[in-house]
Point group: C2
Chain length 295, copies 2
């Protein structure tokens, strides 16, 4: 890209799948002049430098954000409050702070109170990922053609929002602005509940006796395999998502359980008609997803 960088110095707090993908694309698309990454473990910092993800790798969030005009929190959402508190005194005036968390109301609750007045907070959620984690797992194309949802609190400077939006557009993403609470409800059903269900069915298998389990692995192609891929996602990241989007997830889980009880009853009673009716309805939903260009 021959265009000018959007930011001078990007600080990435956390350099796993998402953080390292941002570092890669920020470099390949020339979105920033320099990158500083922050990671707690020395091993991760060494790996990040070895992979060429940043010019500098810091252990302390405060040191990492000094002089940065864009800071993106890329750690599991449960770490945000402590990170925001640690970095707040070191933020440059006018800096933009953003994040990539899969829940947004909790991020605003945890981060906003720590930030100084002269800093802009533009929470974001790139709806993209794989079941892999760590700095080696990232790639620059991860966000291409994917949605990035921004949930700026009321009163956020529109110019700051636009700069973050432009960053994601140049990452290849489609940007959408949304209310944080609404984001959390929509993602509870599109992402959080599917992950919970996948984790759960895979854990049900973990409880089976050893010989049956070996056969489950062998014949996994019948449907179970797709669930194991989802259920291999990062445990700490997902732990934090469920703890921090409790209400919306429990609401959707309640609906799911009611529906499942109805299906269970239909199977017990041999109610073929009801089963066919439900399975026909779900086919139409697939069509909705395909028509929305998401299949």
């Amino acid at each position: 890209m021959a265009t000018d960088p959007l930011f001078e110095r990007l600080a990435l707090i956390g350099v796993g799948l998402i953080g390292s993908s941002i570092a890669r694309l920020a470099q390949s698309e020339g979105l920033v002049r320099e990158i500083v990454v922050c990671a707690r473990s020395e091993q991760t910092r060494a790996k990040a430098l070895e992979l060429g993800l940043a010019g500098r790798a810091e252990a302390e969030p405060g040191t990492a954000v000094e002089g940065a005009d864009l800071v993106i929190l890329c750690a599991p959402v449960g770490a945000n409050a402590a990170l925001a508190e640690a970095m707040a005194p070191h933020l440059a005036p006018g800096a933009i702070v953003s994040d990539v968390g899969s829940v947004k109301a909790a991020v605003i609750r945890d981060v906003a109170p720590h930030l100084p007045e002269n800093v802009h907070f533009v929470p974001g959620h790139p709806v993209a990922g794989t079941e892999n984690s760590g700095p080696e797992a990232g790639f620059a194309e991860l966000f291409e053609e994917r949605w990035c949802i921004l949930t700026p609190p009321e009163g956020t400077d529109p110019a700051a929002v636009e700069r973050v939006a432009e960053f994601w557009r140049r990452a290849g993403s489609k940007v959408e602005i949304m209310d944080a609470a609404h984001h959390d409800v929509v993602l509870a059903i599109t992402s959080h509940l599917p992950h919970l269900i996948a984790y759960n069915i895979v854990d049900t298998v973990a409880d089976l006796e050893a010989t049956t389990k070996a056969e489950v692995f062998k014949y996994a192609a019948g449907g179970f395999r797709d669930f194991t891929r989802i259920a291999a996602s990062d445990p700490v990241m997902w732990r934090d998502i469920f703890v921090n989007n409790r209400e919306a997830v429990l609401e959707m889980l309640g609906r799911f359980s009611e529906d499942l009880t109805a299906l269970q009853r239909a199977i017990r009673r041999g109610d073929a008609e009801l089963l066919e009716e439900v399975f026909t309805r779900t086919r139409a939903i697939r069509k909705g997803v395909v028509d929305a260009g998401q299949a």
Copy 2:
């Protein structure tokens, strides 16, 4: 292939995804000299001939199986009893009858009583499929590197079992012999429960208000999308599977629901430790599937 055909005349009763895939591979691998298909609807028969799947297309199972040395039932399993009854008087002495159903004890219960003494019954289940259905959806490579499980009742002629096994090996499949009841338990967890769960979560979305539903389609990439693909599978085929594998499915569903209640409780209580423990355990299961060469 320069080898001789394994059978003279193959009769396929039903010509959807599986039946039409068998027709294609039987031709491309030279497994049979001629193929007759049987379909209730005139439209399907015309389509099968137009696609070149068979030399002849019949409406009546009895007419279709006349002179065939291999008959494969490829209809939804709920249709098997009536099909077996209709074709039984027309079966050639020494013919082998097989099937492709995803449940096996019910198939033996429904088919075996109708078959004459001088016919061999070798039930089979190629563990392969896609979410598409109909004669156009099939392809010759569908069974390559996939398992085909045969569940011959006690006393079945080993030579007949071997001929069916060879048919599937030449289709590219790995063949396994198993007890029918055991097959139904293993498939209940690897395939039937995952499909039920996918159908259910997609149906939960079907119940949401229209505006939320539109957003679910839009952001489906977060996990929900994978479920919609599974839940787009043939409704009649799956209706019949659940009705005919009731006990094993209800048993696995009971375990699944217990586990889900425990996760729900952990989320409600904010028990981060338990959530992380479960999500870490499921990662190891994924490794089991990958190590089994099924990922």
